[in-house]
Symmetry: D2
Subunit: 394 residues, 4 copies
């Protein structure tokens, strides 16, 4: 055991890796506070808490950040119709700054000078965590064991981690590890690495966990009315049974349920990581996929054509920044502000059908649509704005 | 009958409108040459030819431009992943410059000073036809009866057209007109106006003609291998039965068949027209939808990340120009060149599943992919380019 | 004399053309109200007023809009570092929407249904006037005599205008017309057409009226301190004599004086007009040129790098819109808002030297510069924003 | 002396820093080959060669790369009207990849596995050198002593370097070091750091070395005719004395002379470095400044408006990439290709006057200008292209 050092807040997942990191940090002399965000993933939070305490964490924070995740992170992405490289809905990238915010808040509350995470040195998440933490608290120091030779040389493979776990009383998973890695939250689940790394290999049928297989999903669609105000959904109604949800979190969860039931939101892509390599990822983003289509539709219906074009350029940039971990950057805040400004009149109801992996737009209506068969764009705009009150003399 | 004027080449469709225009142009003293492009629409071309001659056309040109349409117009759109306002695949917009090219060629061959078309004064097609014709032949004069008071005041509604038709021996359609307007070609069919004009109204189930209803489409997917070279498909194989197509036109027709069978390619959108109003359109673009997804995938797999970003911006501009009728503009030619340049190494095979209205990417492979787990972007790029031959001394 | 029609507000300049238009409009049966904006041009406003009344104007409005021109139109251009095609500072384009606003206000006050102007059918100003008027008041009707055959066929040349003037008691200019046309306001003067039309011809030395010839301008520079807040100048001090100006209009006039004295602001360019042709223009923009350089400098000094890049793209679009007359469009208002947002922390003082046609930046300082030799961008940004209060424990 | 290692090619400048690095590398056991590019800087190359050999370099390469620098690096920047952050002409950034190319070629020829440079860890040049070298030869290893603790801790200040120099027989400069750092080449000289670091401090009058002071420069302008083909200058004539230059290098040198004589090309700016900090720099770019203005003019005169807009966006990106050291990246090569494509018809002669720090455009002419008073853009474009041969029947 090294001499006492300082306090570190560890982004703890409850799994083998971060459990070993917890013990290893203690070995290095740190006092460890574990933080586990409930951001919508499938997890036994009570068990994780007990486990972390048993492994020597001085304190364990488990916080439900789901509502905040939806309102402060997913909604701006909905505003932007955010897609990275035309396809990835940014489910992991949006979760990182939400978690980073809490890591920093806890570090500040606890007077900890260090934050540690279990992300590897080849992925995007290390960058997202660290840029977030450093931006929010420039004096913090981030410990990334998977980038430290004293750690990764000690644990070259899973076998060494297992041995270390057994030696230190870390509970070892009884089920065999899936031959790929996963990251789940309220918005999505990702699968990558392992047997998926070869981009030619098909995803096994039993890989998917968040959506049903479209080949066996129901033969009858669900139909929804999704009402938007200022570019975000404020009400969802299932027209087949009248079920209605109004709050951000509740309606998002409901859309997840419906989309999941009908197999909506699966994509298999190759993307360009921040660190410069291409990577194959498979994603399920159920509610996000419905909202992407519905928002695109109500936006096109209510937004001026030329504003839309400018906003589209801003959104491309926004998506790239979010993917690369720059959520807390001045440029991302600037873009968020501008994009939100463009959404002021994005309001109305979109009717959608959800069926066999697809979202179909059936129709839309809006209290202040720019849709008008007779008038041209500029005149119509100013009629709606009533900028100049005119004598309607003809 | 007015005094003899000059020769006009009429973009003839065989329908009521352009038949009346043909007769009306003769009334105005013009010698009329009818041109009907076979661009993949459902049409009895022989009957149309006979009809035009019977109505007094001096000559009738019927030309099959399908192969040219695919290779010279659809392929550049595939290069660009062209979408107007994130959703419309530009099926009509791509066909117009193809037709305009032939109108001009015939006018030049026949020594005609005029070209006439039946597009209305509220839509995009008048602009696309006319910009195309004027660009290719600045000395031509376009006659657009639906913008001429002497024509539209004489035919304020369908009833007046019908009366005129009966009076002049123009065969009147026996089936009632669909309560919307359609435009079909090899790539797509569009439905708009009439009962669809209210964006809230759902499309009737019997509207669709080019794709099956996903609720009744087959319960077994088709799986395809689509091979690309320089960013365009060069071979399509159905892995379930080994059926293979290689030429541009044949493989496109086959993809239309497969997509149609599985209900792929339906969208219902509101778009911003060039002339400044919003318009609701419903589209079926079967093969185009499969190719959009497949090309997006092989491109992401083989193109450098930063080149992709620049190319994406160029494609947005390209799509807008095509929509607005600027195919034959210097900026569109510049963009086509730059985008084609970006496709030089876009090659490989994408495996897709087509099922219930959806296109699923299953995997991809490429002879020169940039996909590499160990090396970063720049190094990898130059390894592939072999720009500098190095002594591989480590 | 035609039968009485309605009231028209005429954008009156006091010159031969609009004087003839005034009389001609009366001939057509209109009641004419003349509006002459004092937007900083050299003009005998009293004489112009008397002349218009003598010619039969029912009423003459002469309004000093200089302050409004600076604050509402020139300042947004300073925010944007607005340049059209890298060189033109938009002096005329910014004045048009300012004038249009007052034309519409007077029309509304007077119950006039028509607005008339003397811009030709080949230039940008017709578009700028008309888009502005229609946007602000969709029900207005614009009369553009120079586009009406009954007017331009009657006045094919200057000789016919002179004859008409003599016949109708319109005072004819005694000095010969300059062999080019000019447009002047507080921000600039433009020269074009006539002998300048050939882009190879040099501008005559005696053409320039708003700036001294650099070959004979003073041999001693003036040095200024220009203080900015929120991206616009709030104080100008001449460090050689302590002269200080603080209000927008006064400091702008003073910068015009200094720049004019040193021959600053002359450019000779070929630009692309909205209507599709290239046009040669010579401009003098004295104060605007100093402010362009000073604002560029303080902005670079205080704005985040990545925000600057995004803002630069928005500014390019803004400049193009302003040039093309879209000031009162939704997209221009959106851009103005976003650009203004980017200027919130653009504050500080720039030291400049003005000498022999050049503006030299000598140095700059700012209360909240991002300039910092040790810290990187993101950390520095958040230090300034103090978004998260941290225990400064190291 | 450490054990023999391997061969390193050192980017040698002849100054104190790289002389010490040369000796230090030998101390570390490397065989050192010195490379000194003659890229237009003021330098006694013979003396530098002798010095390097005397200090123990196994071999010294001195290569004149001036012509290559102009043709392969400056010309693409002229094509692009390349400016970083609206003001910096990229003089240093363009030189680095030219030097890097030769470093790699020599390393490959000599079988060296290492390249070393004397750039600091805070600037842009380290990035530019290293990205260039790694891109051209992924297997090379770069040694950057100023980023290595064993080096920078040994030489915390200039005093320690001087002591080391005296101890190892390295000739010590007799003149005191300027209180700022400089980087010179054929295109420009930069001044930064030291007393210039405070952005408020004025540049001393005696700082400038490459251009005359405009206050004392000649009272009579020089007038030049600059002829362009495919967007680059091919002939420069001084109309006052008939002096003419035609080759790339010769005309560039001549433009440097003329610009220098009239004090053209000085700027004082604050820029954003790649590594994230703001930095004040003073630059003299004489010939580059003349060419910037002249090319801007001939381009505006001959290029289609909409192509120009697209090309402008590409150029912004190009400038940013060059500044950040990505010359040899796939995206930079893509942009260079596209920009060059846009220059195909950029040809003609620009008349400029050079006087007291300013470049004035006096006029321009071109064999294939798009300038035309009567025809609109698209028609004119196709007239020039003669895409479709038409019967000119009206």
């Amino acid at each position: 055991m090294a001499e006492p050092r300082d306090t570190v807040v560890l982004a703890y997942s409850g799994g083998l890796d971060t459990s070993c990191i917890l013990v290893w940090l203690k070995e290095q002399g740190y006092t460890v506070i574990a933080f586990l965000a409930n951001i919508g993933q499938t997890e036994d939070f009570d068990a994780a808490q007990k486990k972390a305490l048993a492994l020597g964490a001085k304190k364990v924070y488990i916080q439900d950040v789901c509502r905040e995740f939806v309102e402060d992170f997913i909604w701006p992405a909905v505003h932007a119709n955010a897609l990275y490289e035309d396809r990835y809905m940014l489910g992991s990238a949006l979760a990182r700054p939400c978690i980073a915010r809490h890591l920093v808040l806890i570090a500040q509350e606890e007077g900890a000078r260090y934050i540690a995470h279990g992300a590897t040195g080849k992925g995007n998440d290390q960058v997202r965590f660290e840029l977030g933490c450093y931006a929010l608290c420039p004096s913090i120091k981030v410990i990334a064991p998977w980038r430290m030779p004293e750690f990764y040389q000690r644990f070259p493979g899973r076998r060494e981690l297992m041995e270390y776990a057994q030696k230190h009383g870390i509970p070892v998973p009884v089920t065999p590890k899936a031959p790929w890695s996963m990251d789940e939250n309220l918005m999505h689940i990702s699968y990558e690495a392992g047997i998926l790394e070869n981009p030619k290999n098909r995803a096994p049928l039993d890989l998917y966990t968040k959506t049903c297989n479209p080949t066996t999903s129901p033969d009858v669609p669900d139909e929804l009315e999704i009402e938007f105000e200022k570019g975000v959904p404020v009400k969802v109604t299932n027209t087949r049974n009248g079920v209605t949800h109004r709050s951000a979190l509740e309606l998002f969860v409901y859309l997840n349920d419906i989309a999941s039931k009908h197999g909506v939101g699966r994509v298999d892509i190759v993307e360009n990581r921040f660190v410069g390599m291409k990577s194959r990822g498979i994603y399920e983003t159920p509610a996000g996929t419905i909202l992407y289509h519905a928002h695109l539709d109500i936006e096109a219906f209510t937004m001026d054509r030329e504003v839309r074009k400018i906003k589209q350029g801003l959104s491309l940039k926004f998506s790239e920044l979010v993917y690369n971990g720059f959520w807390y950057s001045p440029e991302c805040e600037f873009l968020k502000h501008c994009i939100a400004r463009s959404q002021q009149a994005v309001a109305g109801t979109v009717h959608v059908s959800v069926f066999k992996g697809q979202v179909y737009i059936l129709g839309r209506e809006s209290p202040h649509s720019l849709y008008n068969e007779e008038l041209v764009r500029l005149k119509e705009y100013h009629r709606l704005q009533s900028k100049v009150s005119t004598k309607q003399d003809e």
